[in-house]
Symmetry: D2
Subunit: 353 residues, 4 copies
Amino acid sequence: MAGNTFGKVFTLTTFGESHGEAIGGIIDGCPSGLDLDIEEIQNQLDRRKPGQSKITTQRKESDEVKLLSGIFEGKTTGAPIGFTIPNSNAKSKDYDHIKDVFRPSHADYTYQQKYGLRDYRGGGRSSARETASRVVGGAIARQLLKGVTIQAYVCAVGEISIEDDYSKLNLSETDSNIVRCPHSAKAAEMIELIDKTRKEGDTIGGVVSCVIKGVPVGWGEPVFDRLHADLGKAMLSINAVKGFEYGSGFAGSRMKGSEHNDNFEAEGGTASNFSGGIQGGISNGEDIYFKVAFKPVATIMRDQQSVNEKGEEVIVKGKGRHDPCVVPRAVPIVEAMAALVLADHYLLAKLNK
Amino acid sequence: MAGNTFGKVFTLTTFGESHGEAIGGIIDGCPSGLDLDIEEIQNQLDRRKPGQSKITTQRKESDEVKLLSGIFEGKTTGAPIGFTIPNSNAKSKDYDHIKDVFRPSHADYTYQQKYGLRDYRGGGRSSARETASRVVGGAIARQLLKGVTIQAYVCAVGEISIEDDYSKLNLSETDSNIVRCPHSAKAAEMIELIDKTRKEGDTIGGVVSCVIKGVPVGWGEPVFDRLHADLGKAMLSINAVKGFEYGSGFAGSRMKGSEHNDNFEAEGGTASNFSGGIQGGISNGEDIYFKVAFKPVATIMRDQQSVNEKGEEVIVKGKGRHDPCVVPRAVPIVEAMAALVLADHYLLAKLNK
Amino acid sequence: MAGNTFGKVFTLTTFGESHGEAIGGIIDGCPSGLDLDIEEIQNQLDRRKPGQSKITTQRKESDEVKLLSGIFEGKTTGAPIGFTIPNSNAKSKDYDHIKDVFRPSHADYTYQQKYGLRDYRGGGRSSARETASRVVGGAIARQLLKGVTIQAYVCAVGEISIEDDYSKLNLSETDSNIVRCPHSAKAAEMIELIDKTRKEGDTIGGVVSCVIKGVPVGWGEPVFDRLHADLGKAMLSINAVKGFEYGSGFAGSRMKGSEHNDNFEAEGGTASNFSGGIQGGISNGEDIYFKVAFKPVATIMRDQQSVNEKGEEVIVKGKGRHDPCVVPRAVPIVEAMAALVLADHYLLAKLNK
Amino acid sequence: MAGNTFGKVFTLTTFGESHGEAIGGIIDGCPSGLDLDIEEIQNQLDRRKPGQSKITTQRKESDEVKLLSGIFEGKTTGAPIGFTIPNSNAKSKDYDHIKDVFRPSHADYTYQQKYGLRDYRGGGRSSARETASRVVGGAIARQLLKGVTIQAYVCAVGEISIEDDYSKLNLSETDSNIVRCPHSAKAAEMIELIDKTRKEGDTIGGVVSCVIKGVPVGWGEPVFDRLHADLGKAMLSINAVKGFEYGSGFAGSRMKGSEHNDNFEAEGGTASNFSGGIQGGISNGEDIYFKVAFKPVATIMRDQQSVNEKGEEVIVKGKGRHDPCVVPRAVPIVEAMAALVLADHYLLAKLNK
């Protein structure tokens, strides 16, 4: 109920603060007999880790996962998989200046009001560091989803965005550049914009697209737990996310039924896919695709007007090591959350078999 | 697990098909001692019911709710509130022609594949008729939320949209016209467009905005059950919804941190509200606002290419009585789902008191 | 969270008070394609209904179930099954005398304190009438459990008890007498004792045994949701239950490991079955058996010392039509709850397939 | 769903196998601002740890808990509390002989059948070692329950049992002897019996009583989540438990209503307490008390007939270091599980405030 568990039957519960001894979690409901590729879990963590390039935070953290249970002789046993990721390189000193100050558009104020106290070091529980545990859960979920591919990529940074539809892109090139955009020309522009913004001590938002192929017909529960509703909640639970749309999305609201309907074809499948691979909340076998909007990172390297716990006006100085733009590192997180949703619905679908 | 229950501690479980004997549900977790205004529940149902105007389906259904339990001498007792809404005026005959045919962009195909059979009459469980039960649940949730006002309105139909921010509109005028748009000039255009589209045997999409005032600081759980993530899932669970954004939304992805940050002010509150009243997943006391995108209704009064259960090509004829545009009737549904989310988080917040 | 839902994936949520318009519930998670024998559901209700014989309450109630959804052309559709059972023959007048009085060993006092008000008519929500909804849920669960037989019977009333082990009894004779005891000689004694007790205006307790055959190996989750722990909770949730034991039960606590261990045999199965068909919380293919202890009904036809809402001493008179002994009518309820637990674990087991 | 989480709003999720790197868990839903006495958590673990005396296993294990999150400057923050307990002194070699053999009355067979593989070392997940994590969760739950005292004690070992009612015992003496029985004469007999049994290479069962004082009126949800039903499930989820009874228990089934009813008294409370402090599933302010039956430990130091994975007859030799009787070490586990149930219902009760 306290919001630290995701999923219904394939569940991830996470714990840990940015500057505590370790973060970690428990993955429960993973079926037995799955050959786990541990290295692949670490690879996904490495895609999310800080200090990867000039356009991410310079904080260096190795993010090494320790799997503590649920695996025997390389296979899952059906028992819960507990894991920890030690917090190294946490510079709590960097945060003394915000001990009793509320940073604009951060969770400092709401946590203080809700809980009456807060671990202010690095944002404590509200830090995006928590998402490392999601990447571990997602990496395991992914290995359960044989035949399903989940590919996210950056489709926009600020005003720079890819106009092409995903089908015209080579998604295998996503990780070929530091901004994780499969369109090399746009990628160059994005990198330049982020770098420029960083030098100005500012930050900028962006959009991540995600495409899922290979999901069979029948995943998703109707009514409240529609597959896209769970995907939406998963994405909206990621730090800094402001919006989610799937298939035709907001553009679909400007269309007519005669244009928007996806006619079924005799050879199988549909002529168009404005539905985004989901009809009535259930996967229909077509590609599932959606977009996730991220706001600019709230921590900027400039002085900002704010108040302290006493309600007095104060100036918050930009300190610490932060990302000028969150989307490049958000790509593996979006993929991880999508994998968690799909693993959950893959198992839920078995209940009606 | 089958997706028919919404909420964690204030829950609504619904049942019923479009053409069965009745639909209904159970509201559980409503605290005792609440004076229930039964008439107000019926009022909300009347806002959703079919046959209200020339721009909604002509199907006439009274949608009268019968409350069966959980209320004693006008007050809630803390026991579950069971209710039914009889299905009158269901013309099953209208659906014989789709008995073994899959209507484009409907749930016919996915239900058939997932369940191996389906109640094809009126779309059965996938019919938007199910949302009447949500309106009952939402109307009760709303009465629990003293001091909170939830106002949804139509902000776009097709290409016609209100540019003004909600603060410049008089939301009390929303129900003064049949399209439920508080901007009378735009409302007239929208009505004309919907009527024109209906005459062409076509349908059109639209966008509903929702503004919530009076939510105190501290509602919402961090990490996975963020207030906006639960609002997003609630909205995405409504039939025909393709997208959700809150606060700055997708536009926020094009902004810089220096523009987007909401500075705290000494007199309380924030100078701007791009956060949309939620920071770190928890309400901060400012207005909560979001937008919901609806696709055009899939049932059009035209012949469409499709296939039947044998995979043979067939022509689906547009029959039955349907809405040319879903947004006018979606307004009370959006409000109901928002009320369910807020009632749930109002109670969840007590767990940390 | 309010305790009106049972089960994890095959769930029953009930609503309704003893003297409201109707009681009922929703069964969710029942797989599609199940041929439902509606008559059999009513048969189970008839086994529980009041007024069956001279040793049960004389209140006459037909208890007719109305299934409202989730069934199409005789088969389950995978959608929730909503149902109601109208309350006929409710004599609320019988309860005016306890409007503000707390009956000894009833829920009057605790409900009043917890909720601040209560529907005192017939005990409202705390009435055993609620168990009729469980019988409906159990009857459907049972039809899902092909090859599994669940047989409960009365093994003790007061001091009269069957010493024989279930294997020496012909359980098909359980319903051949009004006390539902398969041992005819003991049955006669029990009936006489109950009748004598009734004439004295008193009530008496008893014990129900239950035997489950045909459960395959592998149902039950280890650690917290052990099959026997869920059975125990299910039984303890029935009105008037004070104890639960399975397999060797309390007697097992007096045994030595060398006597108690169930050795595995080459031909399969175990030599003895002190484990009661469950090892490590998981079914092992042997018979599952357990006992449930019921206290004497709290409503006696005698004057009793008590207090009213003002805390003043009062005399409570025994009024209304009540059972002198609950166990004969408890037999179908015990079976229903066992069926609900097993259906839940039958489905849960699929999650590791 | 996989049964590794206990509780609804105050939850404990555990992970870990007997011979893995560590066991541990996550406590979620603990309100913020609680001053945690870390030492007291370790004290409770020490009461459960092996190697305490001549009548427990000689395996020496320090069981030191490491709290990783959710605590800041000595107070809970409202964030999940993650913890680990390293597995030291695990002698996996001791288990090579059961690699492919099913020990009688252990979970070897059912785990193998359910999961298709198993971590056989020390019983893996089915080992009672998992209960150490419950003791950590319970110790924290206990600190949340101000004014509530939970005292368990051994009331029977084999045929030796205390006849006295708990009110006649000085429960503060429970830990004054190694068998944890507050009746010194009986304690001496019990210790002698356990020691004698151990020397015979055998094991013996026993019964633990638990008394809870200070629970206010109103904890517990009616219908399915009755306070005693949740206590029963909690106890039945402990390894080796075969039965649970509360208040009058099985003896109550032999009583008459006129004897069993607890009359309310003008000065408050009830004259007798056969109800065991719970009426209609809700606490009534009187003492809550119950008994838990434990079977004899399945591992005996004797040769036993069994089969291997190929179904061939084999002799299982008793090896390893095991308890001749589980009840002395079960006392803190029973208290921990009771604390978890009470903390959960303490919070649940807030939802109706």
